[in-house]
Amino acid sequence: MTTTIERREKAKFGRPSEADLRLKNNRLGMTIFQLSWIMVFLAMIIVNWQLRFSYSEWPPAGVAPFDPLLPSAATLALLLSSYLLRRGLEALRSGRVAGFTLRWRGAMALGVAFMAVIVYEFVNVSAAAMATQYGVTMRLMTGFHFAHALAILAVILHVYRKGSRGHYSGESWAVEGTAKLWYFVTLAWMLFYTVLYWIR
């Protein structure tokens, strides 16, 4: 028969340390946030899908389909920026601050390039398209996504500036969490990109 004290020791032993628990909580919390908030993007995809039924064809008659060339390049840039964030995070974990700053700088540049293309596409929706839900839902979706990208890019910039001054070392949730927010932006865009440019 185990005594109370033994059980208590065992219980203590089985409890993670405060720091471990916090990291575990942050990671799970982030995952749930990502799962949750991606639902808004799915809701917008459903909006796009349901509004297609208002028209006999999609894009509606007389509206030229969006050219996927520039957005595809921007999507590649976004994917690459996510990859660079990841590599920067790994560099920081193994203690190479210079590697972190270099990669995150590249990621931010690619992120800005992506957003510039999105702004260009948003502004240049034809009047014919804007007269139908084809153009309106495109602006809704890209605009909604842009708002998230902009906010999270600001977070990346903030973390980058602190990180480049050597504020973070090794395992850092601020850096990891920021990168994960950008992965979220990337995934959300991949969904929108597919729906907007490829599903006719």
């Binding site: 028969m1 185990t2 005594t3 109370t4 059980r7 208590r8 065992k10 219980a11 203590k12 089985g14 409890r15 628990l21 575990k24 909580n25 799970l28 919390g29 749930i32 946030f33 799962l35 949750s36 908030w37 991606i38 639902m39 808004v40 799915l42 809701a43 917008m44 459903i46 909006v47 349901q50 509004l51 039924f53 208002s54 028209y55 509606p60 139908t132 839900q133 309106v136 809704l140 909604f144």
Partner: protein, 563 residues
């Protein structure tokens, strides 16, 4: 026997029975990251909204005393009144009220020091007051008239700026709800003591987990729908206007994809409360514990597949039958819970405390709400009673007979833990009698007038319904009056109630294995849960409870304890 292990810290041992250490009242008025403070903040503010929303219900019933317009200046004024009534009751009362009990009780039941993200927890709460101000401001600016469901075109072309403010407020409340729910899920998954496997978790935690999963997956759809509504209202888009290529049903689809699961957000925690209260106050293990935990998950899952039953009269005909079937399927996990509750109290040593009375009240009323739900799920019947008082009756049976009765049960059950003092049981019983009878005679006759064809959401009705409506209104006033009894009881008991002790109900879950109210870190030492959360009636549980009494002084000042 090895499980007789409770915190035996020095602080606890030296505690005098009549020296309860409560936070100063001013603590509740400012930013705090303590889940117990936040829980009470949620509770008090939600109850305030319950009173406001209830006062509006009284005005609605006063208007409906006679078949003509008398209290209201116009039908539009009546429309905005029931709109704000529904909005307040759903978004500002029931949903945050469950966050109150979830916040206070869940970390304690898990033996945790706080929620996983204390700061986020406080932030989620403090979004509610500004959101409430925005929504209420809308009522005074130019009120929304579209009902709490805000169907376009009522909410787009036929409502004033109040509708815009309504949407903004609802947006904030949705974000608050998502953040709160993320917190609950992480807390429940990560903060349990190592001895507490998920199959030993109290059923309130199971229910809050299921609720939170629904909230995080469904509430974003509300955010999406509200974004479109705001754009249609202020940016000139036509998402809901067929003339501009939009679709009126788009709102109904997306809104109900949130709001039907939200019905379960409003009632699942109540079901969790019921499992706790019925088991503890009848001194018996929960019947079919695993099935009850899983049925919460089942309801959460099936709840996502039924939304279009709100649109039976507007839906494409070929989609009606599938939604009718899924809606009926949801009666299965709900039925599992019903039978579990009956099995739990069957042959138990039932103590008719106020908490138990309200739990039994829930049981008897929710079953009526559940059965009318199945009736409404049946397509031919639904089309017959569509938009009549039958529907009003159904959802009040579920949301008042269900959620509010569970909220009262939870209040009487956990008040001793929250304040360290017992509620007055005699007043509790009087409160129960008035509430139960008031409720029954308010809402049951609505079935009948609904079947006879009285439409909902109108201030003027056919004179042949007058007698029924006067009975309903009279009972509603009784129901309204009953609220003052509980308010009086809470205030009086807070100052003058008998000292509760750590474990007045002699319960086995962890929130009772610490002082009442618990110290800021909840437990002096890491608590060790009893092997089964509801393992009443065994020698081991009696020994565990005795050890708790030894550590904290004996509870059960009413002398009705048992094991």
């Amino acid at each position: 026997m090895a499980t007789i292990a409770v915190p035996l810290g020095a602080e606890a041992e030296g505690q005098e029975a009549d020296a309860i250490k409560r936070p100063a009242l001013s603590e509740y008025l400012r930013w705090s990251v303590d889940h117990k403070i936040i829980g009470v903040q949620y509770g008090i503010s939600s109850f305030l909204f319950f009173i406001i929303g209830g006062a509006m219900a009284m005005l609605i019933r006063l208007e409906l005393w006679s078949p003509d317009l008398d209290l209201m200046v116009s039908g539009a004024a009546y429309n905005s009144l029931f709109t704000i009534h529904g909005t307040i009751m759903i978004f500002l009362f029931i949903i945050p009220m469950w966050a109150a009990f979830g916040n206070f009780v869940v970390p304690l039941q898990l033996g945790a020091k706080d929620m996983a993200f204390p700061w986020l927890n406080a932030f989620a709460f403090w979004l509610i007051p500004p959101a409430a101000v925005v929504v209420l401001l809308g009522y005074f600016v130019s009120p929304a008239e579209a009902g709490w469901t805000s169907y376009p075109p009522l909410s787009t072309i036929f409502s004033g700026d109040g509708q815009t403010l309504w949407a903004l407020g609802a947006h904030l409340l949705g974000i608050s709800s998502i953040m709160g729910s993320i917190n609950f899920i992480v807390t429940i998954f990560n903060m349990r003591p190592p001895e507490m496997t998920i199959w030993r978790m109290p059923l309130l935690c199971w229910a809050v987990l299921a609720t939170s999963i629904i909230a995080v997956m469904a509430t974003p759809f509300l955010a999406g729908a509200l974004t479109l509504l705001l754009l249609d209202r202020v940016a000139g888009t036509t998402f809901f206007d067929a003339a501009g290529g939009g679709d009126v049903l788009l709102w109904q689809n997306i809104f109900w994809f949130y709001s039907h699961p939200a019905v379960y957000i409003m009632v699942l925690p109540g079901m969790g409360v019921l499992s706790e209260v019925l088991s503890i106050h009848s001194r018996k293990p929960v019947f079919g514990y695993r099935m009850v935990g899983l049925s919460s998950m089942g309801i959460a899952f099936v709840g996502f597949t039924v939304w279009a039953h709100h649109m039976f009269t507007s839906l494409q005909p070929e989609l009606r039958i599938p939604f009718m079937i899924t809606t009926m399927i949801i009666a299965v996990p709900t039925g599992i819970k019903m039978f579990s509750w009956l099995g739990t109290i069957w042959g138990g040593k039932i103590r008719f405390t106020s908490a138990m009375l309200f739990a039994l009240g829930f049981l008897s009323l929710f079953v009526i709400g559940g059965i009318t739900g199945v009736m409404l799920a049946a397509l031919p019947f639904d089309i017959h009673v569509h938009d009549t008082y039958f529907v009003v009756s159904h959802f009040h049976f579920v949301l008042f007979g269900g959620s509010v009765f569970a909220i009262y049960a939870a209040l009487y059950h956990w008040f001793p833990k929250i304040t360290g003092r017992m509620m007055n049981e005699r007043l509790g019983v009087i409160h129960f009698v008035f509430t139960y009878l008031g409720f029954l005679f308010t809402f049951f006759p609505m079935h009948i007038v609904g079947m006879l064809g009285m439409p909902r959401r109108v201030a003027v009705y056919d004179a042949r319904f007058t007698d029924w409506n006067q009975l309903i209104s009279f009972s509603a006033f009784v129901l309204g009056f009953s609220t003052f009894i509980v308010i009086f009881n809470v205030i009086r008991s807070y100052y003058r109630g008998p000292i509760a002790g750590a474990n007045p109900w002699r319960a086995l879950t962890l929130e009772w294995q610490t002082t009442s109210p618990p110290p800021p870190t909840n437990f002096v030492d890491d608590p060790i849960p009893f092997e089964e959360p509801y393992g009443y009636g065994t020698a081991a549980s009696a020994a565990y409870l005795e050890a708790v009494d030894e550590a904290f002084g004996s509870g059960a000042p009413d002398g009705r304890g048992g094991h």
